[in-house]
């Protein structure tokens, strides 16, 4: 009896390790292969360039991961990026000083939170599937962004504001530092705080969550507000880097974000996912994008390859589930 228990334990931990770190292994292999093939791929400059690219949709992906873990989804994040960028740019344009910069970032996140609040309210209290709620928000937020900006890019020239996107601290781009801070905070929230446990409980079994006294509605509301705020933050980051807000920003980013979450092993059925693995997922997409670009692969082919990788990741996930 004891022996068999030990055996099964060893077996579980072995497969668990593979399940847990399989994607990290793929990331390392992918990076190593591209480094061998491309000169300078493994340089600090190139790595930071990848990280900078990843930081923005990577932050969105973290918010989306929370939504997916509850068994939901957020399709509106790309459009929220556009709306937040236009709002942020309108605020900082022609201003000086870090006060306005902070205000613009705050406003972008606030606008995102409002979108999230609406998503969450419709989902939690209106009992509309989040797919539909956030699909509606996706179109609406994009529309509002167009309205606010008259469909044109909004200048965001403010030295303080744009310095966020340009500067680096000890050689590490500021955007990457923001990404790391957000990731650490969200990781702690998800894995170590009651809020995170409740998020998992809802995705694991919403009936049980209710029986266990979890306030399902409030928790969902918080999740979508968080996802919206993070999308708003990404919008402000993009704006400071581009020196402009643009209602066309963030197009299809929600799909990259969902892909990052799913490649990282977040289960669309809910109840499974983590921030570190979401980062790994985002990095796989980032490394692949950069690598395929530097190899000069036709952009059309790049899309096809990306699609195949996403489907492959979900297939792998389904396979794992079947075995368990």
């Amino acid at each position: 009896m004891i022996k068999s228990a030990n055996n099964s334990m060893r077996k579980t931990s072995y497969t668990e390790i593979l399940n847990k770190y399989g994607m990290l292994l793929i990331l390392i292999l992918l990076f190593s292969a591209l480094s061998l093939k491309i000169d300078g791929f493994a340089s600090f400059r190139n790595i930071f360039s990848i990280l900078e690219q990843v930081s923005m949709f990577g932050i969105i992906a973290i918010g989306v991961t929370f939504a997916i873990v509850t068994g939901g989804i957020d399709l509106s994040s790309g459009a929220v990026v556009a709306l937040a960028s236009v709002v942020g740019a309108s605020i900082v344009t022609g201003t000086e000083g870090y006060g306005m910069t902070i205000f613009a970032f705050g406003a972008a996140m606030f606008v995102g939170s409002i979108c999230g609040l609406i998503n969450g309210t419709i989902t939690a209290y209106g009992r509309i599937p989040p797919f539909i709620a956030t699909l509606g928000m996706m179109t609406m937020a994009r529309g509002v962004a167009q309205l606010v900006s008259n469909g044109r890019p909004v200048d965001a020239s403010s030295d303080a504001f744009t310095s966020i996107g340009d500067s680096a601290i000890f050689g590490v781009p500021s955007l990457v530092i923001i990404y790391v801070l957000v990731a650490v905070t969200c990781h702690i929230m998800m894995s170590r705080m009651s809020f995170g446990r409740h998020v998992f409980a809802i995705g694991g079994n919403v009936n049980t969550a209710k029986i266990c006294g979890v306030n399902v509605e409030i928790t969902l509301l918080k999740v979508y507000i968080l996802a919206g705020a993070l999308a708003g933050l990404a919008g402000a980051m993009l704006t400071s880097r581009a020196y402009a807000g643009n209602p066309t920003f963030g197009n299809m980013w929600e799909l990259d974000a969902i892909a990052a979450a799913v490649i990282g092993g977040t289960s669309l059925a809910g109840g499974v996912g983590s921030v570190p693995m979401c980062i790994v997922g985002a990095l796989i997409i980032g490394v692949m994008n950069k690598g395929l670009n530097m190899l000069g692969v036709d952009p059309y082919w790049q899309q096809i390859i990306k699609g195949m990788i996403i489907i492959g990741a979900v297939l792998l996930d389904a396979q794992k589930r079947k075995k368990a």
């Binding site: 334990m9 694991g204 009936n207």
Partner: protein, 521 residues
């Protein structure tokens, strides 16, 4: 090996699930054109056996199945149907938005070119229904058809597949008395066509009324097959019950203290009306009744999962307001729900996470959950309740039913409850684990907790409860003391006070095996 008298022969068929041997070397032979009753309690392995025949499970290596003398290894229901074996499941789920004829021909529609030939389908459906004497209009939408009629349609559909063997899984569960007789008539008509029938049932009466032969399975093991004319009811009961009758759980007495919970005039229209009872410290209070009597609904209301519309709940003599589970948790009420998968487990989360969910606060240090603290507590619960799991970090879905149930009980014990509600606490778990859970329940009563148990297992209620409330169709029929309570009285009350039918004395003896829902015929 094969014999032409038999349409189906199963030889040494076993099926092992992780941690459970659901079937152990089972033999079953069905004569051509006979009605063969298959009996055994819930969890005995009947469903597993039938799912193997229907291609839903693959049996373990080493056994053989022959259909009409040929080796039979269906990989999917369609294989079984093509070979000539059809099933009428216990709960049929027709497409409610389609007509009777459309359901009859679902998946094998008659076509004229690329279009469906509705007229031909109606005509042929009508023909089969008429032949079997089933009065039904083929154009009616399925949603307007009664459960009984839907059942009959499912039988007709099976016949039309030209099945040589039809499995009927407890077909009378949801039927009224007159509907049952109609069903019997049709089953006999089906038999007249030379079709053999495996008739799964809990009910002795219908087994003797219908079947030519009867086989009994108990705890996954084949007990035997008898001609129905060669066996008495007493003998059949002995086959089903076996040694278990003598091993009725003997509980020890516990000192009963002051009144803890009072429920007054609790009502939820359509579910239950005017429920009144009290539970004292150290008391085990049973709730009996047929399925659908509103037992689960009452305890769900007390816990606030589906709150009552009117009535009051008092705790320690003070009125409390319970609108949602969080309120009940705050008042130290725990609730182990009836359906582990639906409302109990978070299947893909760890044992620890499943245990600590109702109250995370005790595990927090500086607002962060301490994994170490949570693991320690989970480990001590694991030892205390002897939960068999490699570690407390194991995903709960990998545990056996009995151990999952222990985790769920541990979940509420961690809350240090004053009142623990258990809805069908031993459903689908093996006998060993059952006994452990019984002991645990009595131990909790000794610690001064008030326990409410809802159960369909008569023996469980009779052996555990100090008092038993019997419900019928949402009403409280009465509360009886342990000393007065017998199977017969409870069944009488549960059936709404109707005079028990002629074989009720027999039913009384089948206590440990027959669930109350099976006892109404």
């Amino acid at each position: 090996m094969t014999n032409s008298d038999f349409i189906l022969e199963m030889v040494n068929v076993s099926k092992t699930f992780p941690g459970v041997k659901a079937l152990d070397q089972v033999n079953l032979s069905i004569r051509k054109g006979s009605i063969h009753a298959l009996m055994g309690e819930n969890g005995a392995g009947k469903s597993t056996l039938m799912k193997i025949l229907y291609g839903l499970y693959t049996p373990d290596e080493g056994g053989d199945v022959f259909f009409n003398g040929q080796p039979f290894t269906p990989k999917a229901p369609i294989d079984a149907i093509r070979t000539g074996l059809a099933m009428v499941p216990q709960e049929i789920s027709p497409s409610a938005n389609l007509s009777v004829a459309a359901n009859f021909f679902l998946g094998r529609e008659i076509k004229k070119g690329i279009l469906i030939d509705q007229a031909a389908m109606n005509e042929q459906t009508n023909k089969v229904l008429e032949e079997l004497g089933i009065p039904m209009k083929v154009e009616t939408l399925m949603q307007d058809v009664s459960v009984a009629k839907a059942q009959l349609l499912a039988i007709a559909t099976a016949v039309s597949y030209e099945a040589k063997l039809i499995i009927m899984d407890e077909p009378t569960t949801a039927l009224t008395e007159s509907e049952v007789h109609q069903l019997y008539r049709i089953v006999k008509k089906v038999q007249e066509r030379g079709i053999a029938i495996i008739y799964i049932s809990h009910k002795l009466g219908e087994v003797f009324e219908l079947s030519d032969e009867v086989s009994v399975i108990r705890d996954g093991q084949y007990i035997g097959t008898k001609k129905t004319t060669d066996i008495t009811k007493e003998e059949l009961i002995n086959m089903m019950v076996g040694r278990e009758m003598d091993e009725m759980f003997q509980r020890e007495d516990v000192v009963i203290g002051e009144t803890l919970l009072e429920v007054k005039h609790l009502s939820l229209p359509g579910k239950f009306e005017d429920i009144n009872f009290t539970v004292r410290k150290g008391e085990i209070f049973g709730i009996a009744g047929l399925v659908g009597a509103g037992r689960s609904e009452v305890v769900e209301a007390i816990f606030g999962y589906k709150a009552a519309e009117s009535g009051d709940i008092y705790l320690h003599g003070e009125k409390i307001d319970i609108r949602k589970p969080a309120d009940a948790i705050q008042h130290r009420i725990g609730f182990v729900t009836e359906d582990r998968k639906l409302t109990g487990l978070m299947l893909n989360m760890s044992v620890t996470d499943n245990m600590i969910m109702p109250e995370l606060l005790p595990y927090e240090k500086h607002h962060l959950i301490s994994e170490e603290l949570a693991s320690d507590v989970a480990n001590s619960m694991k030892d205390q309740l002897r939960i068999k799991t490699p570690t407390v970090d194991t995903i709960i879905g990998n545990l056996s039913g009995g151990n999952q149930q222990k985790v769920l009980i541990a979940r509420w014990l961690l809350l240090e409850p004053e009142i623990l509600i258990l809805d069908e606490p031993t459903k689908g778990i093996d006998i060993g684990a059952k006994a452990e859970i019984y002991k645990l329940i009595v131990e909790l009563a000794r610690l001064g907790k008030a326990i409410i148990i809802v159960s369909s297992e008569m023996l469980e209620l009779l052996s555990l409860s100090d008092r038993i409330m019997v419900m019928s169709e949402g009403r409280e029929v009465g509360i009886i003391d342990r000393e007065e309570a017998t199977q017969e009285i409870i069944l009488d009350m549960a059936a709404g006070g109707d005079v028990p039918s002629h074989d009720s004395t027999i039913q009384e003896e089948t206590t440990s095996q027959c669930k109350t829902e099976g006892m109404t015929s």
